[in-house]
């Protein structure tokens, strides 16, 4: 039996939290779950509407969780797309979602492509984070 029940929170490094909100909420259509000033940091999470069990922390690299030099390295890695997959999202219609997001100005690294696991495409957030959008065979 597993020690854990679920993955409820994962984090993405963003370079600017307001710009992140414009993208994740304004363009991707997510909703804000928490936006709290903790004093030492702004706790900002978003979620897919209706998917209340899982949130994404939009975290700005920097003090107090890391020193300025480390934050600078993180920022450099994010902007060159070297931090790996940030998010995997599912959709019921990959091509339609792609067209909708493209019209909203979302940047893509890959157009919808058929694969053995479904149809997916690759997008970037404004900072360089990689987002996969997948239409699984059962979700079509």
């Amino acid at each position: 039996m597993s020690m854990f029940n679920a993955i409820t929170l994962s984090g993405v490094f963003v370079l600017d939290q307001d710009e992140a909100l414009e993208f994740y909420v304004g363009k991707l259509g997510m909703v804000v779950k928490d936006d709290v000033d903790l004093g030492f940091m702004r706790w900002l999470t978003v979620q897919v509407p209706g998917d209340d069990d899982r949130a994404i922390l939009l975290e700005r690299p920097g003090p107090p969780t890391m020193d300025d030099a480390s934050a600078e390295k993180v920022r450099e890695l994010v902007t060159k797309g070297a931090t790996g997959l940030a998010l995997g999202l599912t959709t019921s219609d990959c091509r339609k979602t792609y067209e909708t997001l493209k019209a909203r100005g979302v940047e893509f690294s890959q157009e919808p492509t058929e694969n053995s696991y479904g149809i997916d495409c690759g997008a970037r957030d404004p900072f360089g984070n990689h987002i996969r959008i997948v239409q699984l065979p059962t979700s079509g």
Binding site: R75, G81, S109, Q110, G128, R132
Partner: protein, 139 residues
């Protein structure tokens, strides 16, 4: 200083993404340089400094990765796959494929592995070997 690096990285990543999207098209350095707001004279040098390889090499690896996928997952002829992935001739395709993968396209297909339900981006990353690592030595 740092912000300048971040801006440069992001613009170069935008150009690299354009190569990923249109991997079968000929390498168009002037267009990529314009997309990155970098002079054509500096683009290749800056791309290499940022990503560790030239745009030409990146595009070769991207094409070979797609060719590997098609060889594994489809019954299409090697010639078809060569054209589909943007190589100008079968000779260039075979030579580039062997240089990067370590085997010819036909040998690779004959030794093909079963597909996995791994997102395309990871299959791309893992089957796109670096100078020091070949997928044929893995698994």
């Amino acid at each position: 200083m740092s912000r300048a690096v971040e801006d440069s990285n992001r613009r170069l990543l935008r150009a690299r993404d354009a190569m990923d999207r249109a991997y079968a098209q000929p390498l168009d350095v002037p267009a990529l340089a314009r997309l990155a707001f970098i002079s054509e004279a500096h683009f290749i040098r800056m791309f290499r400094a940022t990503f560790g390889e030239t745009p030409h090499r990146y595009l070769q690896r991207r094409r070979v990765e797609r060719a590997m996928y098609l060889l594994r997952e489809s019954d299409r002829s090697v010639t078809d796959i060569c054209m589909e992935t943007g190589f100008a001739s079968l000779g260039t395709f075979s030579r580039t494929f062997k240089e990067i993968v370590g085997t010819s396209p036909s040998e690779y297909r004959a030794n093909g592995r079963t597909s996995t339900r791994v997102p395309n981006c990871f299959a791309m990353a893992w089957t796109r070997p670096s100078t020091n690592w070949r997928p044929s030595t893995f698994g």
